[in-house]
């Protein structure tokens, strides 16, 4: 089996999972208690108004019909309009998704190299003070809930020092640097949250490789510790590291509602929660499928990178 076939197989499996996810999402939103009509009107629902809204939105059609109709339009890029405020879903999701990817991307760019670097440093000073210090601080940061870390950073950097804004307000006229400045605190929070996991995995994976005999050879021919770790051990430890990195990136995209609330960040998490509360089913389904797609995409990437980085898979006998 050559590498192209392997990748094609993975992609096909990914699409199949996405299809299954779409069924789960649809069934899930169907069994939510209450319906969109009463949710839209909330406290002010009179039976007449509820009946009017239900009729207007076509909620009286059978579920199976609505599922295929929805899937067909989704595949064609037509996400429909929001039930609660009539806005075009593709447009409103697009903007929020951009914000989320910006935050997640920045956090990933800040945290991944840092985690890998700290992991290598920890290996170099294995069991020494530096190693213990790195492990202790990162594990402490991951043990604290996100809202606590967030509020501590606000207290220190916004209230006491006055360096950064406690709430993020983004607008279209801001330059890239201004945007980066605006999201510093949420990025710091997310970095602290995901750092330990990746750092520990890097350390463990490299240590595992360090016991191999070719590492001993490298050391015996007089290479320095850093070179051995970076050029000899790290490339062979990349597969498990990538897996953890990708898992954390997926988390950064889909799981940051708490951080969004603390810093009033207009991202996908809060967007989806708002629409779930209002039973705005088309938007919830769209968000669900997008999140599912992102998750599957990241896992696919992890698989493919592992295949490429592993010569045994690249050159099958």
């Amino acid at each position: 089996m050559n590498i192209a076939t392997l990748i094609a197989q993975r992609v096909a499996l990914g699409i199949l999972s996405l299809f299954l996810v779409s069924i789960l999402i649809f069934v899930g939103t169907e069994i939510l208690p209450g319906d969109v009509a009463t949710a839209i009107l909330g406290r002010s629902a009179t039976p007449d108004a509820v009946a009017n809204i239900r009729r207007d939105l076509g909620l009286d059609d059978p579920a199976i019909f609505r599922y295929f109709h929805w899937l067909a339009s989704f595949v064609q890029g037509d996400l429909g309009v929001s039930l609660s405020n009539g806005q075009d879903i593709a447009q409103s999701v697009g903007r929020r998704l951009q914000n989320t990817l910006f935050l997640a991307g920045t956090a990933a760019i800040a945290s991944i190299p840092l985690a890998v670097f700290l992991g290598m440093v920890a290996v170099h000073y294995k069991d020494g003070f530096v190693d213990k210090f790195i492990s202790m601080t990162t594990l402490a940061a991951i043990s604290l809930p996100e809202f606590f870390v967030g509020y501590m950073l606000i207290l220190f950097f916004s209230m006491t020092l006055g360096w950064f804004d406690p709430i993020v307000s983004l607008n279209d006229s801001m330059s890239f640097l201004e945007r980066l400045y605006a999201i510093i605190l949420p990025v710091m929070t997310l970095t602290l949250v995901v750092l330990a996991h990746m750092m520990r995995m890097t350390r463990a994976a490299i240590l595992n490789v360090m016991t191999s005999s070719y590492i001993e050879t490298a050391e015996l021919k007089g290479l320095s510790g850093g070179v051995v770790i970076f050029l000899h051990a790290f490339p062979n430890a990349i597969s498990p590291i990538i897996n953890v990195v990708v898992l954390n990136m997926a988390y950064l995209v889909v799981g940051v509602v708490v951080v969004e609330v603390i810093f009033v960040y207009p991202g996908m998490g809060q967007f989806m929660v708002d629409h779930v509360a209002k039973r705005d089913v088309p938007v919830v389904q769209a968000c669900g499928l997008i999140f599912g797609g992102i998750y599957i995409f990241f896992n696919l990437t992890a698989d493919i990178i592992s295949i490429i980085s592993n010569p045994r898979l690249r050159h099958p006998r």
């Binding site: 208690p33 108004a49 929001s82 405020n85 708002d274 509360a277």
Partner: protein, 527 residues
């Protein structure tokens, strides 16, 4: 006024903590006439000279990603506040007297004692798109909220209107199905914004600020309307931030990112007061928290059980603990001194475990009384329920507090369970408050209160133009509801806002939070 210490008076009126109502109370108590005191207040406000300029940033809760610009869909403080910035109503409300004021109408009169009403419209007012406002726009804007198909939050209070028609280019006529002296107040509803004919969710109006950008659940941006016909509106721009998290609202004010915030947590209000750059503004108004017993549903179809539950609650303790004193005790009617024609002579119901035990025994009820509650009803509802549980236990009544999920509370609990917690924000008049929730056929009759005498009194009060007689009718209705009804009203909660100290001109408005949404029009920055 000769023997009045005018220097002292000036000091009182300059004190930012003294609002107009308090000012009037103080000065009238000191022997001044109402009109003299009023003019003095206006003079003092003028003395601290409104200044134009700056960007006001308000952080308010309520908006979410699902919100819309269409006035029909407005449900919360954020929406109402935003609406008043870009558009106006025919009539407004006076924060000091509770009377109506003129916005886009200049006169309102009934030709036949309260059934047919004629309104003269302000001439020469233009919308932000340059179009001149005429009666056609007004008729269109009001009619959008009426009719059986209407999804508007104002639809319920407009059902008595049979016709709205243009009776001239700058005159409209409203016809009711029966006499109602309160029509002027009905059309002060915050949904009833006047927009150009054909507008729905384009944010177009005649208001003092022009909408620049609307991002639901994030922010709304406004700039000053250079063609605004009215007074006030001192800011060059206004930003309304949607912040639903109380802590984030607080940090935004503490770090100077915003100047005015809504819904300060009573727990932190005391701490915020210590900050010299921040003023906490708590306004007692008509908003109240309620415990609702369904009078047509077992076990609360029993008068004695309802009476036992009303006597078994210590309102003072709940106000002190749950509201931290930011509120006042209720009296099992939805009306308090903030309403016109309120009868302060109605006796305050007190905590009386012995009397409660007596009624409880007489009711013949046995077993637990289930009380469904969630903090979705109001912040602190679960704490209030547990306190109530302890208080009722002293009367031998066992309350089983059922915590319900906030999500779906209004669908599955409110108006469905026999006993639950809820809230009301109040209405401009007693008639509206009673019509919306206590009249036998009211759509939101959330205690299923059915009382023919009460309903007929309500209708007779609408046609009664003699103030003293009207007050007597409302007093009698209050007594009926207080004793027969399923409403336990433990407390009227204050609106707690906080503002930056340099934000001047803030008026405590009993009709709503953040100066009833008028801070962008009333306030300015002090140098």
């Amino acid at each position: 006024m000769t023997n009045f210490d005018s220097e002292l008076l000036r000091k009182i009126s300059m004190d930012p903590k003294v609002n107009r109502r308090e000012f009037l109370r103080t000065t009238i108590a000191a022997g001044l006439t109402m009109s003299a005191a009023t003019s003095l207040w206006s003079g003092s406000v003028a003395a601290s000279t409104p200044q134009r300029g700056g960007t006001l940033v308000q952080a308010m809760e309520g908006s979410s990603a699902t919100s819309s610009l269409d006035p029909i869909t407005y449900t919360n403080t954020y929406d109402a506040n935003m609406g008043y910035q870009y558009a106006q109503r025919l009539l407004g409300n006076d924060p000091a007297t509770g009377d109506y004021t003129f916005e886009l109408a200049t006169a309102i009169d009934s030709t036949d004692g309260g059934t047919t009403w004629v309104l003269k419209l302000r001439e020469g007012v233009t919308f932000h798109n340059g179009k001149t406002m005429t009666s056609a726009d007004v008729v269109y804007s009001l009619n959008r909220h009426r009719g059986e198909d209407s999804k508007s939050g104002a639809a319920g209070s407009l059902t008595a209107i049979t016709e709205i028609k243009a009776s001239g280019k700058y005159e409209i006529t409203i016809v009711l199905d029966s006499v109602n002296a309160d029509l002027p107040f009905i059309i002060t509803d915050y949904h009833l914004l006047i927009q150009p004919e054909g507008s729905t969710d384009d944010g177009m109006g005649t208001g003092g600020y022009v909408m620049k950008e609307y991002r639901p659940g994030e922010v709304t941006l406004f700039e000053r309307n250079p063609n605004y016909w009215g007074d006030g509106c001192y800011f060059e721009a206004v930003e309304n931030l949607a912040i639903n998290d109380a802590t984030a609202r607080t940090t935004s004010l503490m770090t100077g990112k915003s100047h005015l915030i809504t819904r300060v947590d009573p727990k932190t209000a005391g701490l915020m007061k210590k900050n010299p750059k921040i003023e906490v503004e708590n306004t007692s108004g008509r908003a109240h928290y309620v415990f609702l017993m369904q009078t047509q549903m077992a076990p609360f179809d029993n008068y004695d059980l309802r009476m036992a539950m009303k006597l078994a609650i210590d309102r003072e303790e709940i106000v002190k603990t749950v509201l931290r004193g930011y509120g006042s005790v209720g009296n099992d009617i939805p009306i308090n001194a903030a309403y016109p024609y309120f009868d302060s002579g109605i006796e305050q119901r007190k905590y009386d475990p012995e009397e409660a035990a007596f009624h409880y025994k007489k009711s013949g009820h046995s077993g637990n009384v289930e009380f469904h509650v969630s903090n979705a009803a109001f912040s602190g509802a679960e704490d209030a329920a547990v306190l109530y549980q302890q208080q009722a236990a002293r009367a031998g009544i066992t309350i089983d507090v059922k915590r319900e999920p906030a999500d779906g509370y209004w669908d599955n609990v409110w108006m469905k369970k026999p006993f639950c917690a809820s809230y009301w924000s109040g209405r401009p008049t007693q008639d509206q408050m009673y019509s919306v929730a206590y009249k036998g056929d009211a759509a939101w009759n959330d205690t299923q209160f059915q009382n023919d005498k009460f309903d007929s009194l309500l209708l007779s009060a609408r046609g009664e133009l003699d103030g003293a007689k009207r007050k007597a009718i409302y007093s009698e209705m209050g007594m009926i509801l207080r004793d027969q009804g399923g409403l336990i009203c433990p407390m009227f909660n204050d609106f707690i806002d906080a503002r930056a100290s340099n934000l001047a001109g803030y008026i405590r408005d009993p009709l709503g939070a953040v100066s009833n949404g008028f801070a962008p029009m009333r306030c300015w920055f002090e140098a």
